[in-house]
């Protein structure tokens, strides 16, 4: 299944933060991990991710550090800040409200909450 990219808009940040909730990750790893967990529905592009990571770091949502153990290649790991955890929780709630609303509209004529 190939998803129209415009659907992704708005949920990308939440998904990235969710990945970091479980464990610290570096950019390239996020792309692969997101692809794996979504079963190839999400193929986040590097040109989308790296600028987004920089923005989130500036906004104090995530923070980066260089790989501590020696790796084959230089990697920048990211972790959630306390504010980032809070933001993730908010975005989950927002997602649930949004997807419920879509399903409500799709569900039928929807008169009076039925």
């Amino acid at each position: 299944m190939k998803i129209d990219k415009s659907l992704m808009t708005g949920s990308t940040t939440m998904l990235i933060l969710k990945l970091l909730e479980n464990s610290d990750m570096y950019g390239y790893q996020m792309i692969e991990e997101l692809e794996r967990r979504s079963q190839n529905i999400f193929t986040l592009k590097a040109g989308t991710l790296y600028p987004l990571l920089h923005t989130l770091e500036q906004q104090n949502v995530i923070e980066s550090y260089d790989a501590e153990v020696e790796t084959v290649r230089p990697r920048k790991y990211y972790r959630l800040t306390k504010y980032g955890k809070k933001l993730l929780d908010e975005k989950k709630i927002e997602w649930n409200a949004y997807s419920s609303a879509v399903n409500r509209v799709l569900g039928g004529v929807g008169y009076d909450g039925i």
Copy 2:
């Protein structure tokens, strides 16, 4: 609940088409109906809707006609074309794939489809 508008991106067309699946409607009515059915989550702006309707008509997804019965004010009604119905079905499938994938990522660590 106030939704980040960027979440809307990509699903607006599907929601409009869904409204028209049940009955023909004019633009202003769609805005109100969408608001009602989504319980105020979606507040589609006129500046978004009218250009979108024109585009969808050009693409033969919907077609318009003037109100047949006399109305207080001139109204342009829209109906789904055959192609529009097909497109709606496709977009529903796409939405399900997308929202399932998001929920899969949100659901947990997600190793091996668990």
